[in-house]
Symmetry: C2
Subunit: 306 residues, 2 copies
C-alpha cells in the first residue's frame, strides 16, 4: 500500500451546520472545513458521529462532499464516513467517495442488528471491498460501541487485514477503552490507528498511532496538532494534560450540541447551535454555563472567526 497518501495527524469529525429548516447550511459548512484545515487539522473526517451524518440522507451527504470539492477542499484531505446499515447504501456511498479521490473511508459496521457474528460483519466489509472494487479504496474501521453496540473484535480486524491488505488499512477507536486501543496497537503494527479522543493521543502515539480523529478538533485543533507534532518532546506530557483538561471541560456538556454551541459563539452565528433530531441544542442554562467555562479558559471570543 502506498503509505505516502495516507492521512495522519489531527482529523476533525466535522460538525454540520443547519439552516432554520434543518437543511445543511452548505456555505457555512465549507467555511468551517476550510477554517479547520487552516488551523491545525491535517484532514477532515466528514460524515462522522459528530457530523450527525446518520441524521442526513445519502443524497445530502453526497451533496456536501461535492460542495467541498467544488470549493477547492482537496479530496486527499477527506476521510468521509461511508458505513451504513444497508450494504447497498454503503457500497453506493463508498464508491461515490472513492471515485472522487478521497483519502479514505471511515466505516461504521451495520449498526441496527445487535449480537451479530464476526462472520456477518466480515461478510459486510468483504462485499463492500469487492463491490467497490477500486484499488484506491482505503477503509478505516470505525469502532464506536457506545453508539453501535457492534464492536470490532481483534479476530475480525485480523481477518480483514489478512484478506484485504492495502484496502482495510486502519481504525478509529471511539470506544473510550484504553485497553482495547492498546490491544489493537500491539496486535497490528503498521495499522493506521487513530484514537477517537485526544485524551489518548500521547499514549497511543507511543504505541504507533498515526494521529487522532477527535470531536474537540472542531473548536480547537491547534493545541492537539501541537502535541501530535511534538509527541516526542520534553513537554509532551504537560501538553497532553492541558488538552485533556480542556476536553473534559467541554464534554461535561452534551458533546455534539456543546461543539455546535461553541462554534455558534466563535462565529457569532446562533444558528450554528442547531441540531437535527434526535439531538437537541443546549438549553439556555447549559449554553450560559458553557460560555462561562470557555471564558474562564480565555476562549470566550464571540466572532473570533467566521
Amino acid at each position: 500500500m502506498s503509505q505516502a497518501t495516507l492521512l495522519t495527524g489531527v482529523l476533525a469529525p466535522v460538525i454540520t451546520p443547519f439552516q432554520a429548516d434543518l437543511a445543511p447550511d452548505v456555505e457555512r459548512y465549507v467555511r468551517h472545513c476550510k477554517w479547520l484545515l487552516e488551523n491545525g487539522c491535517s484532514g477532515l473526517a466528514i460524515f462522522g458521529t459528530n457530523s450527525e451524518a446518520n441524521s442526513l440522507s445519502l443524497d445530502e451527504r453526497k451533496m456536501l462532499l461535492d460542495a467541498l470539492l467544488a470549493a477547492g477542499v482537496p479530496a486527499s484531505k477527506l476521510m468521509p464516513g461511508t458505513g451504513c446499515c444497508s450494504l447497498t447504501d454503503s457500497v453506493a456511498l463508498t464508491r461515490f467517495a472513492v471515485e472522487r479521490g478521497v483519502a479514505g473511508a471511515l466505516m461504521l459496521p451495520p449498526f441496527f442488528y445487535k449480537g451479530v457474528s464476526d462472520d456477518g460483519l466480515y461478510r459486510n466489509f468483504a462485499e463492500i471491498a469487492q463491490r467497490v472494487g477500486d484499488a484506491r479504496l482505503k477503509i478505516y474501521l470505525y469502532h464506536i460501541p457506545p453508539m453501535t453496540a457492534v464492536p470490532f473484535s481483534l479476530g475480525l480486524v485480523e481477518r480483514l487485514l489478512k484478506d484485504y491488505p492495502g484496502t482495510v488499512v486502519g481504525m478509529k477507536d471511539s470506544g473510550g477503552d484504553w485497553k482495547n486501543m492498546e490491544s489493537m496497537l500491539n496486535a497490528f503494527p503498521g495499522f493506521q490507528f487513530f484514537p477517537g479522543s485526544e485524551e489518548f493521543l500521547l499514549p497511543a502515539m507511543r504505541l504507533g498511532a498515526v494521529g487522532t480523529i477527535t470531536a474537540t478538533a472542531n473548536i480547537g485543533p491547534e493545541a492537539i496538532d501541537r502535541l501530535f507534532r511534538n509527541w516526542q518532546g520534553a513537554d509532551a506530557d504537560a501538553m497532553q494534560e492541558s488538552i485533556t483538561d480542556f476536553r473534559r471541560a467541554i464534554t461535561k456538556f452534551p458533546q455534539i450540541p456543546a461543539l455546535k454551541h461553541t462554534t455558534a459563539i466563535y462565529t457569532d452565528h446562533p444558528q450554528w447551535a442547531m441540531t437535527r433530531p434526535p439531538l437537541t441544542p443546549l438549553n439556555a442554562e447549559q449554553g450560559m454555563a458553557l460560555a462561562a467555562e470557555l471564558k474562564r479558559r480565555g476562549f470566550d471570543m464571540p466572532g473570533i472567526r467566521n
Copy 2:
C-alpha cells in the same frame, strides 16, 4: 380518526428473499406476501426488523412496495416500516408510502444516537408528522430496545398522542417486557397496541390490544390468527400455550435466519435461507436441527407451498 380503516389482527413483519447477488427476489417476495394474506395474516408489516429493512436502501424499499401494489396486494393491508435514522429519509419514505394509501407507517425512532432525550425524539416525530402533512398518515411507534437501545417512554407517547391525535395511533412493542406492555395498554385506552410477539397475544388482548405483529407469522400465521379470533373462547389459554410453545422452539435458533430457513424448506427453495450481512444464514448443523424440530412437530413438509 376513522377506526374502521385501522389494521387489527395478525400482521407478519415480512421476511425478504434475496437472490444469489443479494438483490431482493421480487417475485418470491410478492408470492410470500400473498401467501401470508391468504393464510391468516390480516396485514403485512413490510420493512420491519425481520424484513432486514435496515439492510435495504430506501430505493429498494420503495421498489418492493410498488411491486406489491402492482401485483394486486392492497395498500390497505400494508403497514411498512418507514422510520430511519435520518429525518429526511423518514419523511421521504413515509410520504412515499402514505401517497400510495398504506394503512399505517411503523416507525422506528432514529436509532444511531443513544441516550437521546424525549424532547429530541418528540421533535423527530413532530417534524415527520408536519412535513408529511397528510391526514391519511397513521403512525405506529416501533418500540424495540433490544435493537435500538432507544425506548419510547410513557411520557413521550402521551405527548405525541396529545399533540398528534389521529396521526400517532399505535405501537408495536417488541421489547419483550410484559410490564412495559401492561403500562402502555393501561395508560392509553384506544391505543392501537400490538405486542411484537404472539407470546403476549392473549394477555395483551385482555387489556385492549388489537392484534400482534410477530415474526413467526411468517411461517405459521393460522394458529396465531385462530387465537386472535377466539381470544374470549374457553380454549384461549390452551391455544396461547400451544403457539407460545411453537415460537419458543423456533426462536431457540437465531430468529431471522430460522424463519428464512423454514421458508426455504416449505417452498423447497434453498435460496430463501440467504440473509444480507450483517446477518448470516443458519449453518448446516443449525439447519438440520431446525428441520428435525419442525418434523417432530409435524411441520416437516418440504415444498408444502410455493
